[in-house]
């Protein structure tokens, strides 16, 4: 395929090259048409993305002091986590547990990962005396405290 260069275009112009000019026009229309269709598709599909970006930037600019405040607070925005994650980690910190393990019910759920991440630097240890469980689970250990559907036990 001949690349569209300046010399190509020059040679394509003139009364003896009408068919060449027509073909060139067809090629231009199809090629640019495909780009315009792709651009329109992207513009429509990605419009919410651009809107979200603009909104986030505007929110941050309008609430600059809020960023400064949040940057100065350890643990800020932990409330973005699920209530059970916050409750579980709060119980661990309240009990000053040096390590912990999770009940079999929590072990089988995806929430386990979020608890383990949020609880760090308190390490997970399968041999720990502190056990985090759902409040409705039965236990043979001594319950230290409970809140919002979660409980922490001490097992000898």
């Amino acid at each position: 395929m001949t690349p569209i260069t300046e010399s190509y275009l020059e040679n394509s112009i003139g009364p003896k090259r009408e068919s060449g000019r027509f073909l060139l026009l067809v090629r231009l229309v199809i090629a640019w048409g495909s780009v315009i269709i792709l651009g329109a598709d992207m513009a429509i599909t990605a419009a919410p993305t651009f809107r979200q970006l603009a909104d986030l930037a505007r929110i941050r600019l309008n609430h600059w002091g809020d960023l400064e405040r949040r940057l100065k607070v350890p643990g800020a925005e932990l409330e973005a986590m699920a209530p059970e994650v916050r409750a579980g980690v709060g119980l661990l910190r309240g009990a000053a547990a040096p390590s912990y393990r999770l009940s079999p019910a929590i072990q089988g759920e995806a929430v386990r990962l979020w608890i383990e991440e949020t609880a760090w630097p308190t390490p997970y240890d399968p041999a720990s005396h502190f056990v985090l469980r759902r409040a409705e689970e039965n236990t043979s250990c001594r319950q230290l405290s409970a809140t919002k559907g979660m409980a922490i036990d001490y097992c000898d």
């Binding site: 495909s34 269709i37 651009f50 970006l53 930037a57 350890p74 990962l113 991440e117 760090w120 997970y124």
Partner: protein
Amino acid sequence: MNFAHTVTLFLTLGLLTYTLIGLLFGSLLVQKWACWAGLIALGVLLLAGIFRVRPAREFPRSAWLSGTSLGARWLTGKLLGYTCALLALAAVSLAISAIPLTDWDARLIWFFHGKAIFFDGGLHPSDFWRNAEYGWSHKGYPPLIPLLAAHAADFTLGAWNEFAPKLGLVPLAGAGFLGLLVVTQSSVEQVLLVLSAIAVLGSQLWNGYADGWLALEGCTAIYALARWVDSGDRKYLLLGCAALALALVLKNEAQLLFAVAIPIFLYGLYRQWRHLQPHDALIGLVFSPFALWLFRRPQLPAIGDLEPVELLTRAYGVVIRWPEMSHRLLVLIQYASTSTFLLQSFATFLLFGMLMGFDRIAALLGSAAALYLLGIITVYFGTPFDFAWQVRFSLDRVLMLPTLLLLAGVARMTQASVNARLGRA
């Protein structure tokens, strides 16, 4: 070398040096000193640039005033692209700081490693790396984002929360968007590519995932190498290698990108070897952070679950079973056709190129995208996880880089077409 190119190289090489220091010394304190030194150097560089770059010197006053002047062309030809890229950089930086860490990979992989590094005071063997329970966090993933996150928390707050560590992503945004700016040649291309990057990468640029940054650096790397192949200008070889090295310490998929870049590099050697000097071999040093990471991984230990040899072995096992392979291919095509711009970009790239002519750079970009896609298919064939689950939750993200490469090729050919029309006029 123009000012934007210098700043981009400074940022990219600075991030590589930062990673090297983090891996060598394993101490946030040393990194803090290095970071201060880097920020001061960047400030000096920017000040020097502001005082040195005077449009009036480059474009005489008479030229600014005349109707079809060089100054007017500079305004339309460069200023538009630069403004678009800088606005995108500013908006993405603000968006990064506007939302807390809530998404899966961001929180449970990248910033979890960063949190461990922060509480350990650096990257060295500790309870986190030794504890087998945290194997689900893919501890073998590259260290740059965790190091930046740990340092951002240390630098801004001295404690951990859900906002401060994310500020570590801002230098990546700077290197990424400036990289796109300097490898492209004119405003049409720059504006199209920057808008395409935001459209394709979207929230991956501000939610704490690594895929958006990999796509930006990968696109910069391949484009810069293609520019070097085409022009022989060694500044593009340096930028291409530096961006590739940065991608390698960002995400494991960059190893595939590295494999894709090898044929382009060899083609460049074939075309440009006469213009190379012996000291150009020193450019290879930019890969030292990744080499050091490979050396440090077993010491932490940070072993991954997607090792290349095992992946290829499993992929071979799928390829020799035709029914399984065809089933997996169909699933991949089904998801790819519904969830990304990949197929549309591929069709437009081919149609535009066949009708208007591929130039060398666009052809290299398209070839790199095709090779990368083949590699991605191989990786999916070799996944140790449930295939459908893996495809469902990751295909969108891994297809971002080839999509961006194809869109860069389309932008490149569009610019060439505009140039031809303007030249005729």
